[in-house]
């Protein structure tokens, strides 16, 4: 399924829990998805030859209290294994939450991953918030 097809299906879908999606493909081929259960932190979907990556940028290094940076990194390493279906990482100066799916993942499972990732984002940020500026 191409990212355009996925965007089309997402825009027409509402989950049993009432979650809706606003999905737009950008010019550089990134599918940006806003989940109605968390529309402040969109999930960006991109494809490689074998994977569908779901990435939520969380915050930048500049938003971390400088003296708390090590503590934050350590906390993220501790909580990462406990987060269902997602992991935390860093891309450049941006901390991210991400999940990877095989390209043949069914639409239902992609929906599940997106819902869980939207929830995970809030959980992680609630834990980390005291260390941010």
């Amino acid at each position: 399924m191409s990212l355009n097809d996925l965007a089309f299906k997402l825009n027409a879908h509402t989950t049993d829990e009432g979650t809706r999606f606003d999905a737009v493909v950008s010019e550089d081929g990134v599918l940006e998805v806003f989940c109605s259960n968390n529309d402040e932190f969109p999930i960006n979907l991109v494809k490689t030859d074998t994977q569908l990556l779901a990435i939520t940028p969380l915050f930048s290094v500049a938003e971390v209290q400088p003296e708390k940076l090590n503590e934050l990194n350590e906390e993220l390493l501790f909580i990462s294994p406990a987060i269902p279906l997602s992991s935390v990482g860093r891309q450049g100066d941006t901390y991210i939450l991400f999940g990877a799916m095989a390209l043949n993942t069914t639409f239902e499972n992609i929906i599940h991953e997106l819902e869980v990732q939207a929830e995970n984002t809030l959980d992680v940020l609630e834990v980390i918030e005291p260390l941010l500026v």
């Binding site: 968390n38 494809k47 994977q51 990556l53 940028p57 500049a62 891309q91 450049g92 991400f98 918030e129």
Partner: protein
């Protein structure tokens, strides 16, 4: 140096923006070339494997046929001996010896071909492993490139909003407020459903003449007043 180490070096060196090479173009070219070489080698190996396998099958069939002939001539030689025809038996025995020599030669050839077929199969498997390994390496690079792409839009937004502190806290609060609002509406919806169900039950009770509101008409008031007057 492994690709992952290359990637880490590049990222530490500040290659975090879209378009910046995660690994140098030369390493990418080498990997791509190795994949293509291995694929070509596999195609060639598979072609020669097909012709070798055909020869191997042909030889096997010939050896079987020769052994069949040997068995046949052996029984004929025995029959010649039984008939006391020593001369004919010797002739047949010589023929058997020729056939045995030919069968041995072809068996050896067949065995050698089998070894070659096995070797080519091993080569193919090893090349396929190389391809898979290199493709995984390329996948790592592509993953980082896609990550850069997916993160770049948001990073720009961060830069724009960084002027205001507590961006994350404010966003979290907005999400929580929306979720609370949604939960309140859900609760209100449930309350509406509950109360309309309760209204419905009251009506049913009233209709059945049960409960406090069962009979509040003028007739009952008049009855009550009459009872009071009588008292």
């Amino acid at each position: 140096m492994s690709i992952l180490k290359n990637i880490l070096t590049a990222i530490r060196g500040g290659a975090s923006e879209v378009g910046e090479a995660v690994v140098d173009a030369n390493a990418m070219r080498i990997l791509g070339q190795e994949i293509r070489d291995a694929e070509t080698a596999i195609t060639k190996a598979k072609q020669s494997l097909t012709s070798l396998k055909a020869s191997e099958i042909k030889l096997k069939r010939e050896v079987n046929s020769l052994q069949q002939d040997i068995t046949d001539y052996e029984s004929k030689a025995l029959k010649a001996l039984e008939a006391n025809n020593e001369g004919l038996a010797v002739e047949v025995a010589n023929r058997i010896a020729e056939l045995e020599a030919e069968a041995a030669e072809k068996s050896a050839e067949h065995a050698s071909l089998s070894v070659q077929v096995d070797k080519i199969n091993i080569l193919i498997r090893s090349r396929e492993k190389t391809i898979q390994k290199n493709k995984r390496e390329l996948e790592k690079i592509k993953t980082v490139e896609q990550l850069q792409k997916a993160t770049s839009t948001m990073s720009t937004n961060f830069a724009a909003t960084n002027a205001s502190e507590h961006r994350v806290s404010a966003a979290l609060e907005r999400v929580k407020a929306k979720q609370t609002n949604w939960e309140d509406r859900m609760e209100a919806g449930e309350w509406m459903t509950d109360s309309s169900q309760s209204d419905e039950l009251d009506s049913k009770l009233k209709a059945a003449g049960i409960g406090a509101g069962a009979d509040t008409g003028g007739a009952s008031v008049l009855e009550r007043l009459k009872a009071k007057q009588a008292g």
